[in-house]
């Protein structure tokens, strides 16, 4: 079994109008090399599901997003995401704005093959006002309480970035927080992972490593070897987020051409060289709050 693909190979599994989920959280462990590959393709009109960071912003900057299903979009150190902000203020994208937990419930519901999961979250807020498609369900038990029926968010494709993988798609997320990547994988028809390291199964470390295996290889369709593939987001424990680059990226919202000329339409290897190379990136300290 060999699931190893190139960045370009992954594009063959993506179509315009698809619903794609992107793992990570804000400016943390985003599959940015795969996102850049989409930006450089003809694929468009995507519905994007994300705990958003520069993945969402970069796709917005390349006019790839038809609809965004989200709880927030932020670069963490730079709270507001300039490209997403511009797309919203220019009315370029549709949105389904949800509480972070509702978004998780939608993914979990899809992961469990359920049509919905009940929640109180959203009551009393304009999340209901602006998502009139959300329906309600009444408890069949004595309490008779009414809930929001958070619908399953089914994904055509999930894109995740992990620390380690073998050729079979056995992955390890070593950073202390796996975020909701497992649910993205379970909610998707197909999942593609980019991985810092591509190792033999033996090198994954047997029992000692297995606790870092957050979802089964049967969920993984393809593995792309992508050292520093999360740049400019962080990939704990290997590197932190590149604050200088995030600033340059953020400042490029006004005129994106300079940024695109410097960093886009490149192979992953050339991109990494353009931002200083692996030696430099892996010296970026992890964020501390």
């Amino acid at each position: 079994m060999n699931k190893v693909l190139t960045h370009k190979d992954v594009l063959a599994y993506l179509e315009s109008n698809a619903t794609i989920g992107i793992g990570g959280w804000g400016a943390r462990r985003k599959p940015m090399s795969l996102v850049r590959e989409i930006c450089q393709s003809d694929i468009k009109d995507l519905t994007v599901v994300s705990y958003g960071g520069p993945d969402v912003g970069l796709l917005c900057a390349h006019k790839k997003v038809k609809k965004l299903i989200f709880g927030f979009v932020s670069l963490d150190v730079i709270p507001l995401e300039a490209h997403f902000r511009q797309a919203r203020q220019n009315k370029e994208i549709e949105v389904m704005e949800l509480d972070e937990g509702m978004l998780q419930w939608g993914l979990r519901s899809a992961a469990m093959n359920l049509p919905f999961l009940p929640t109180r979250i959203g009551f009393g807020t304009d999340v209901l006002t602006h998502n009139p498609e959300l329906k309600f369900v009444t408890s069949p038990y004595e309490d008779k309480e009414s809930f929001i029926a958070m619908p399953a968010i089914k994904l055509d494709v999930a894109l995740l970035h992990v620390n380690k993988s073998d050729e079979k798609g056995n992955t390890h997320i070593i950073g202390p927080d796996p975020f909701f990547d497992d649910l993205f994988a379970r909610a998707a028809e197909k999942t593609f992972v980019s991985s810092e390291e591509l190792l033999s199964t033996e090198e994954l470390g047997g029992k000692d490593g297995a606790i870092f295996n957050r979802f089964e290889r049967s969920l993984v369709t393809g593995v792309v070897h992508s050292p520093c593939g999360a740049h400019p987001t962080s990939c704990s424990p290997s590197y932190g987020f590149d604050i200088q680059h995030l600033k340059e990226y953020s400042d490029s919202a006004k005129s994106f051409n300079d940024y695109a000329d410097k960093y886009m339409n490149k192979s992953h290897q050339d991109y990494i060289e353009s931002v200083g190379g692996i030696e430099v990136i892996t010296k970026i300290p992890l964020p501390q709050f």
Partner: protein
């Protein structure tokens, strides 16, 4: 020591009192002043509070502001985002946040300013505010008390619910305490209206009224009590030795 107490220190001391009766729950202070305040609460009136390192671990002592050697943190537990959700859905948390807007119902907004379909300013998105507000108590710190933050009518996009829908939260919804650059408030006035509890030095009732977009009750117009010497030592030497708090009001 007491003759040079800063406004930031007054706000931290007052904000810390939000958590004093909470018992053993997760205290989350989001932003500079709320975070130092949560730490101060843990080091003074509520040592049972749980706190994170700002990333993924629960640690025994509040993490000081600024660069530190985090390998020296005494980790006592795990608090990934998944665990944060599980914890907050169970209600064992009290967060202090800084919404962009708050209204007379205690509704908060961090999503957009202006019309939702054509936003004047796109902010973060609702984040966890809907879930936080319906599942556990919250407090608010506002560094720029004005009619733009304490708005007339309702906030532009209700991200956190308010008292007018309290029954939908099974009675859980509560804004415990509001600390601004002008004074200290809660929502325990008649019909849960916001009420003034104390004024910071050199602030008048008229200043507060002129800068608030809705009617408030005046429970007291006394001057906010100053941080104790113990609190000042903890703020200055333990929680924020580099004085990062001074950036909030340019002090």
């Amino acid at each position: 020591m007491s003759d040079s107490i800063s406004l930031a220190e007054i706000c931290i001391s007052q904000a810390s009192k939000a958590w004093q009766d909470d018992g053993e729950i997760l205290a989350t202070g989001i932003g500079l002043i709320p975070r130092i305040a949560a730490g101060l609460a843990k080091l003074t009136h509520n040592p049972d509070l749980m706190m994170t390192d700002g990333e993924t671990y629960l640690i025994s002592e509040p993490a000081p502001m600024g660069k530190r050697d985090s390998s020296a943190d005494q980790v006592e537990g795990y608090m990934s985002y998944s665990r944060v959700f599980e914890n907050l859905w169970g209600g064992k948390r009290h967060a202090m946040v800084t919404p962009t807007q708050i209204d007379s119902f205690g509704q908060t907004n961090i999503s957009v300013i202006g019309n939702y379909d054509s936003p004047k300013i796109q902010l973060l998105g609702v984040r966890g505010f809907p879930g936080n507000s319906i599942n556990h108590k919250n407090s608010v710190f506002i560094p720029n008390h004005s009619k733009k933050t304490f708005v007339e009518g309702e906030v532009d996009m209700v991200s956190g619910m308010g008292y007018k829908n309290k029954e939908l939260s099974n009675g859980i919804f509560e804004i415990k305490r509001v600390v601004s650059n002008l004074g200290v408030f809660d929502f325990n006035g008649k019909n849960n209206c916001m009420q003034l509890l104390s004024l910071h030095p050199n602030v008048s009732v008229d200043d507060v009224i002129a800068n608030t977009g809705f009617e408030i009750a005046i429970q007291s117009d006394s001057i906010t009590s100053m941080p104790s010497n113990e609190e000042l030592v903890l703020i200055r030497e333990v929680l924020d030795p580099q004085g990062i708090r001074n950036t909030i009001f340019g002090e």
